[in-house]
């Protein structure tokens, strides 16, 4: 990215902030790039990161979001609050297209906690420097106690929530169970009716066929009419049988899929338990 391209993009991204602030920021960035000289222009622009990140930092600063929190790590500036999924700018505060692995993010989390404890110690002018090593230790303990308390409070909250929500949950469960059983009943009834109608159609076909053959001897027209009816009935019976078979096949398939899913879920869970149990 060239100087002009970077600055134009930055100017575009800084629309809407006060003119004075925008001019100041742009002047700063222009200075930085120009001071580097033409041979180092690429380097300095690469170091500045994307214009998106620069704009995000400037905006966060203007809205007072950089006042406290955040720390400067190997990976650049990280601020835990910008991990908020609602804050898409978050990842851009760091240099772009840098994928943090699990280990790395864990580290920054830990460091974030460390950082929060830091300013009180170093920035506070009234901080006593009697035994800083000791104060460091006491600084660590409340943190642990705090996390334990937070966990306990969370558990209590969850219990309260469950108690409060139980009537609704039970009501909802009742409604769901009702719907499920109603649908089941309808499906079973439909299957039974289909099977019954199929059987009936076959019986009627057989009876009409027999009568038709008998009538054919006396009055051929009536006999043929009855045989035709018998054939229609036979067709209906075959259709019913095919439908029943199809439904059975689908039901068997469904059961198989459900069983497979359940087995996989249980399997992965037990595998996880085994893994957890090993170390």
């Amino acid at each position: 990215m060239k100087k002009q391209e970077f600055l134009e993009r930055l100017e575009y991204l800084l629309q809407g902030i006060p003119d004075a602030d925008r001019e100041e920021a742009l002047a700063y960035y222009r200075d930085c790039i120009e001071e580097a000289g033409e041979e180092d222009e690429e380097d300095v622009i690469a170091r500045l990161g994307s214009p998106e990140r620069a704009a995000a930092l400037i905006r966060a600063d203007l809205s007072g979001n950089l006042k406290d929190g955040g720390s400067f790590t190997d990976n650049g500036f990280t601020d835990e609050r910008f991990r908020d999924p609602n804050f898409e700018v978050a990842n851009r505060l760091d240099l772009p297209d840098r994928v943090q692995d699990q280990e790395g993010s864990g580290e920054t989390h830990g460091d974030g906690a460390y950082f929060q404890a830091d300013p009180g110690g170093s920035a506070g002018p009234g901080a006593s420097n009697s035994g800083p090593a000791g104060s460091g230790q006491t600084g660590g303990a409340p943190g642990k106690r705090g996390s334990g308390f937070v966990r306990f409070a969370k558990a209590v909250l969850i219990v309260v929530l469950v108690c409060v929500a139980s009537p609704f949950v039970l009501g909802a469960a009742g409604i769901v169970a009702g719907i499920v059983s109603f649908v089941g009943a309808v499906v079973i009834t439909a299957i039974l009716v289909t099977v019954g109608l199929t059987v009936l159609a076959f019986i009627i076909a057989a009876a009409l066929g027999a009568f038709g053959v008998v009538f054919l001897l006396g009055s051929p027209l009536n006999g043929m009419f009855l045989i035709g009816l018998a054939l229609i009935s036979l067709g209906c019976g075959v259709l019913g049988a095919v439908l029943t078979g199809l439904v059975f096949w689908m039901a068997v398939l469904l059961v198989k899929v459900v069983v497979k899913l359940a087995r996989r879920l249980i399997g992965s869970r037990t595998a996880k338990r085994k893994e957890a149990g090993r170390p």
């Binding site: 580097a36 620069a54 400067f72 170093s122 090593a133």
Partner: protein, 106 residues
Amino acid sequence: MVFNTGAALLDAIVLAAVSKAAEGSYGYRITQDVRKAIDISESTLYPVLRRLLQEECLSAYDRAIDGRNRRYYKITEKGRVQLNLYRSEWSVYSANITRIFKEAGI
């Protein structure tokens, strides 16, 4: 480096870099100086400089160089007091850490 630099320490480093010369320093050179200690970019430094200006730890003035204005940052009296505080805190802090390492027999 595995250690993080908190906002206070970064302020201290920037204030120290600015006060190297009596005339102050400008964005690019401040970054170069700060980068001798920690890896940081001009983008990250900008909000820090702005904040230090707002807190009146730094003052800014423009100087014409090569036909254009270069913005200089200069440490104020308040900034100097703050820098002294940081330096004394740092010497206590670093001495304690060093002592712990020595006691561990490293």
